[in-house]
Amino acid sequence: MVMNDKKLQVSAIKNGTVIDHIPASGLFKVIKILGLDKLEKQITFGTNLESKRLGLKAIIKLADIFFLDDDINKISLIAPDAKLNIIKDYKVVEKKIVEVPDTITGIAKCGNPKCITNHEGIKSRFTVVNKKQVAIKCHYCEKITDSAHMEIF
């Protein structure tokens, strides 16, 4: 049964977090946004796994790591359908979905080539003006960047 397969994957860590339903193409950006490349805990990545909804998906299993909502929500620009399983003692104790935050700092690049953030070393800042079809408004140049034109650092 499919459910059992899934459980088996998830229960491979004793305590920690499993991030599932990441689009395969976004895996490395998610790693970068969450700074996983700098962590010293045991982390397992799987990518190009079949997914009915996403085509190809990726999964990340992180032993002994738990995220704050604010931190994990940063990946919503890349992986809006991501689901989190919080594992304690081999059991899924909590399931979470990511939410697009109200503001975004330092992750996305402003789509306006004439924006100051693309000319001086300034951390980008946006307010989210549309959460469904993600669109963000630059705090500096006030231009709106939609998901099709969004570049993630």
Binding site: K114, C115, C138, H139, Y140, E142, K143
Partner: protein
């Protein structure tokens, strides 16, 4: 104390806008007031804008203040590669307020975050030019007696014209009906139509200026620039179809006034200048009063 800046017209509430307009009216009655005695204001023009700079410098001079600055980036350390942040942090040490014009969008907001003195945005690229918007609002209120429930026609370059975008945003607080007259290539961008839809405000689009002038309370003219057209043929075809002529004003309302942020090229026929409905030169004069109001308000010199 947190600094008071003026970066975007959207930073100001309706109350603050009225405060500025009331103060401007006071300066119109009594323009020479020695309120900036012993104050130094920096006017940093990273790109030339003679009109805006002279208007600010006139406002400062009438208030008895001194100003320092540069009139284009080539005469400043920017040409040596200095960052905006460094320029602003340095000049903030020399002055009580920074007024800046910069070609890069968002530069004024960034400057306000690194400056220890108030920053006034005198235009950041195609983004905002809030002091222009306030003087436009002053001119509209002065000529119409109100800002509420007016019919405004915007003519010309509605795609890139930041004065149009900022005034449109500000007028959305006053139940305005909008009429947009522009060539196809320079139509009002969708984001502003979405903005007006959300506010439940009415707007109409036209290709022909003759279609709509008779209902107007204000005609806001803008310049169509050749470089905005991808096709030079298209520019040649359209450049003369958005020109306001005296005969077009014959059946317009008595209260109607023609505004233009200036400089004008040929989009208003010179013989309109004599028409009592032409208001653009007085509008420029209002700019001095409005800037006096903005400077003294921000520095807390006028309660």
């Amino acid at each position: 104390m947190e600094n008071n800046h003026l970066i975007s017209i959207t930073d100001y509430s309706k109350e603050e806008i009225f405060k500025i307009l009331d103060l401007a009216a006071e300066f119109e009655r009594n323009p020479n007031q020695n309120l900036l005695n012993n104050k130094v204001i920096a006017t940093l023009f990273f790109e030339p804008s003679t009109r805006t700079r002279l208007s600010f410098e006139s406002a400062i001079s009438r208030l008895g203040g001194k100003y320092i600055g540069f009139t284009d980036a080539s005469s400043s350390s920017v040409s040596k590669g200095e960052s905006l942040k460094d320029t602003i942090m340095t000049v903030a040490n020399y002055s009580d307020m920074i007024i800046m014009r910069h070609p890069i969008e968002g530069s004024a907001r960034w400057a306000s975050e690194v400056s220890r003195v108030p920053v006034v945005n005198a235009g950041d690229g195609a983004n905002q030019h809030p002091t222009q918007t306030l003087l436009d609002l002053y001119s509209i209120r002065k000529t119409q007696g109100t800002l509420d429930n007016l019919n405004i026609i915007f003519v010309g370059d509605l795609k890139y014209g930041r004065t149009v975008h900022s005034l449109l945003q500000a007028m959305a607080m006053f139940n305005t009906t909008y009429h947009f007259v522009s060539p196809k290539e320079l139509r009002i961008p969708d984001e502003y139509k979405i903005f007006l839809d959300r506010k439940g405000l009415k707007y109409h689009e036209y290709r022909d200026l003759n279609e709509t002038v008779n209902d107007a309370d204000i005609i806001y003219m803008t310049r169509i620039q050749r470089e905005r057209f991808s096709d030079p043929m298209e520019y040649e075809k359209t450049k003369n179809s958005y020109v306001l002529k005296n005969e077009m004003l014959e059946n317009t309302k008595d209260n109607m006034k023609v505004l233009h942020p200036l400089p004008r090229v040929n989009e208003i026929d010179v013989n309109v200048d004599e028409n009592e409905k032409a208001y653009y030169f007085t509008q420029a004069l209002n700019g001095v009063y409005t800037r006096q109001a903005i400077i003294t308000h921000i520095l807390g010199l006028k309660k």
